[in-house]
């Protein structure tokens, strides 16, 4: 039974994986379905010497069938290629009416907003369309989630680009298409039409978040305030290129980039931090903070996915049922990919949080016996295990995607992560008390500042070490896949040892 489940899951994912990389079409999927049918039929026509062989052929048939379903699912997601009206107007001046459907992403020199366009305006004539445009605008005026805007400017298609001189090409088109964004506009003339066109609850949440962040910036200096904003409410604020570079070099960029991966890491840190409390409290604290964080960030698809995975880790710890939780993790992963097949290949955040979760569930407990020399004081041993486990599991992926290996990542992560929960707590209280009075929030702000100052200092010191990071110009896909394959075998063996044959 488990085998059947596993094979169909694998087939489906492989189908999605290959159709993400190569250009299949629906005919191929239909062909594969027919093929699987014939393979199945084959088992009836031929007499087998043993049942084992028959079973194997049936599995092949099942695999091909689920693979074709994967291809089919991906091809269906490809049907939406934007609006025909807009596709005919690329590089032309257009007037579009639409609503800001996500929290504006404030960068150093501009702001990026996602606008869901619903009208194309042409000489007083309105044509209803439905498509998302990523618009780059000036910092001011400040637009908000739910604002209805009239945009006049040149509409463009995104282009892939290489983000370093090494020639590593970033598939920007696919990256945007996973969110069904097919168009870009740069600094269009932007006119405010109305506000309050978004989801009421989300609007209130974002308003609260904005006020919260402004409370923080009033009492805490930069860049500490921006770092805190990212940690507590997932604020997308710029820390500046130099500092971001240092974070990258020291392998702790995940705590500032709202990647979903940080949800896993931070949730784990919170659980460790509260581990002096009775277990029921500890687990509820962990779960509540994850849910709270997801809500505060605005519950975008990325964060919701990561939060579900993080909750599974907590569940694994609470119940100790590693096998069932892994199953749940794979089912959750499957459902997420089923809902949006493009995330499997084009969403680094999904991949990273999945791998980090897997590492925490499987590798962390295994590492225990090698970590006996680490003191248990302040949960240092557990932090070390969790850090190493997640690092090992995301490393091949990071090497493939970014090509940078941080040699100081382990000590930096350990030194910083251990204080992240306390930082978040102090920062959260500073922001909340800021609603009452600035004076009241000051003591918490000072504690938060001291912790943030320390964290930034660690990053700065380690980044200044020569050879803090090594970069690879190419890290081939096959190498990454083989490494994960080896991990897979390793986990399989390990689980077998631990839980015996019957479950697998």
């Amino acid at each position: 039974m488990h085998k059947i489940f596993f094979i169909s899951l694998l087939g489906f994912l492989v189908g999605i994986f290959f159709s993400s990389l190569f250009d299949f079409d629906i005919i191929f999927a239909l062909f594969a379905i027919v093929l699987s049918f014939f393979v199945w039929l084959y088992t009836y026509l031929i007499k087998f010497h043993s049942d084992v062989n028959k079973k194997k052929i049936l599995f092949v048939s099942l695999f091909i069938f689920s693979l074709s379903l994967g291809v089919l699912r991906f091809e269906i997601s490809e049907i939406n290629q934007g609006s025909d009206v807009l596709n005919n107007l690329i590089n032309q001046n257009v007037a579009l009416l639409g609503v800001v459907i996500d929290e504006p992403d404030e960068r150093e020199n501009n702001t990026k907003i996602v606008v869901k366009v619903n009208q194309f305006m042409n000489n007083q004539k309105q044509t209803p369309i439905e498509s998302k445009v990523l618009v780059t605008v000036d910092h001011y005026p400040n637009w908000n989630y739910g604002d209805e805007l009239l945009l006049t400017g040149i509409i463009k298609k995104p282009q892939n680009f290489s983000n370093d001189n090494g020639g590593r090409i970033f598939d920007y088109i696919s990256y945007l298409s996973k969110d069904e964004i097919f168009y870009l506009m740069f600094y269009p003339q932007t006119e405010f039409v109305s506000s309050g066109k978004g989801n009421f609850i989300k609007e209130k949440l974002f308003t609260f978040k904005k006020a919260f962040l402004s409370n923080i910036s009033e009492v805490i200096a930069e860049p500490e305030a921006s770092l805190l904003g990212g940690l507590v409410v997932g604020a997308k604020q710029s820390l500046g290129e130099d500092l971001l570079d240092d974070f990258r070099k020291t392998g702790i960029i995940h705590i500032v980039v709202l990647s979903g991966y940080n949800v896993t890491i931070v949730a784990e840190a919170i659980m460790r931090f509260f581990s002096f409390l009775p277990r029921a409290f500890n687990i509820s604290f962990g779960a509540i903070s994850i849910i709270l964080f997801a809500i505060m960030t605005g519950a975008g698809a990325t964060i919701v996915r990561a939060s579900i995975m993080a909750l599974l880790v907590i569940l694994a710890r609470a119940t100790g049922r590693v096998y069932e939780i892994t199953l749940a993790l794979f089912v959750a992963g499957f459902l997420m990919v089923f809902q949006n097949p493009k995330i499997l290949v084009f969403d680094p955040s999904f991949q990273l949080s999945f791998m980090a979760t897997l590492g925490l569930i499987y590798l962390a407990p295994v590492l225990e016996k090698y970590f006996q020399f680490v003191p248990t004081r302040f949960q240092i041993r557990e932090f070390a295990m969790a850090t190493l486990a997640t690092q090992i599991f995301v490393l091949p992926l990071l090497l493939y995607k970014i090509g940078e290996l941080s040699l100081v990542s382990l000590p930096v992560n350990l030194l910083i992560l251990i204080l992240i929960p306390l930082t978040m707590l102090a920062g959260f209280l500073a922001g909340i008390f800021g609603f009452v009075s600035t004076i009241l929030s000051l003591p918490f702000a000072f504690i938060a500042y001291a912790l943030l100052f320390y964290e930034l200092k660690i990053v700065e010191i380690f980044a200044s070490i020569p050879f803090a990071s090594v970069s690879f110009h190419t890290f081939p896909l096959w190498l990454m896949i083989s490494i994960y394959f080896i991990y897979g075998i390793f986990i399989y063996k390990l689980t077998k040892q631990k839980y015996g044959e019957k479950n697998i």
């Binding site: 910092h139 910036s217 200096a221 100052f453």
Partner: protein, 291 residues
């Protein structure tokens, strides 16, 4: 149940260490505050804000003045480096003129810091940044002043900021022409800050009188653009050092070679923010130190 209790005990056991840690941190901050006030220098810092101007000034008595704020939030990070962390107020802010690379960063500064006085040229800009600037100035409970030639703002007993331009109403002027030109004076040492004033304004300034142009430090007008800095102006100012506040590889090509050649002709050393980062001067009125 036993395990839970032992965990709580563990926490109790280590709480003295935690307390000790907190006190150590507090101690550090308190000494930081005490030592921060023991200085008798005027500090003038040309902040590295990329392409733009931002000059932070602190008098020995602690009075602070920020002239322009660059184009974006980078100024907040630079201020974070130079100001003590608990200091969330700046006494006075001067916006030389309503261009983005001068007031863009002032918007978050005014939002996040408590400002007592906001000085402006009076020129009105058309950009969305200027509209936002007007909004945040309106919200801030500060005294707003349109400066005029002859105004002197005393930061400390012998330290003042003198306004050299504008000498009239400049409401609908071209922003660069309307730039506030100031001279910061402490004893024998002085800093001439010209915003983005073009050549014709330098000529005009000379025609108003050359006796108070002589300065120790000159911030080159308009980020070292060739539209500023005429030979005679540089001659009358006769600076010891020249500052160029610009961003690396900026799209305007600032500073222009013509201006660099002119400065070299006068044999004046120059410092660039894009090469040095933030440039900090300290002076006691007699000596000038580069930090």
């Amino acid at each position: 149940m036993e395990k839970k209790i032992s965990k709580l005990n563990l926490f109790k056991k280590y709480s003295p260490f935690l307390l000790l840690f907190i006190f150590a941190v507090l101690n550090f901050f308190i000494w930081n505050i005490v030592l921060a006030h023991e200085k008798d220098f005027l500090t003038v810092a040309f902040l590295d804000v990329g392409q733009g101007d931002a000059i932070f000034i602190e008098a020995p008595n602690g009075n602070q003045l920020l002239i322009d704020g660059g184009s974006n939030k980078k100024v907040l990070r630079e201020l974070g480096k130079i100001m003590p962390f608990y200091d969330r107020s700046i006494d006075m802010v001067l916006a030389t003129h309503p261009d983005k690379d001068h007031i863009g960063g002032l918007v978050p500064v005014i939002k996040n810091f408590k400002i007592d006085y906001i000085l402006e040229s009076g020129a009105v800009g058309e950009s969305s940044v200027f509209k936002e600037f007007v909004e945040v100035v309106k919200k801030e409970q500060s005294q707003n002043i349109f400066v005029k030639r002859g105004n002197k703002f005393f930061l400390d007993k012998d330290i003042y900021l003198e306004i050299l331009f504008p000498d009239r109403e400049v409401t609908d002027w071209n922003p660069n022409d309307a730039s506030v030109i100031t001279k910061l004076v402490y004893g024998e040492k002085s800093f001439l800050l010209t915003g983005d004033s073009p050549q014709k304004m330098e000529k005009y300034l000379i025609s108003l009188g050359t006796e108070n142009l002589k300065s120790s430090i000159l911030k080159l007008g308009h980020h070292g653009s060739k539209t500023s800095t005429i030979e005679s102006f540089l001659g009358f100012v006769d600076p010891e050092k020249v500052i160029i506040s610009a961003g690396l590889d900026n799209k305007y090509g600032h500073p222009h070679q013509e201006v660099i050649d002119l400065v070299n002709k006068f044999n004046v050393p120059f410092l660039e923010t894009y090469r040095e980062g933030t440039i900090i001067f300290q002076t006691d009125g007699e000596n000038l130190y580069l930090k």
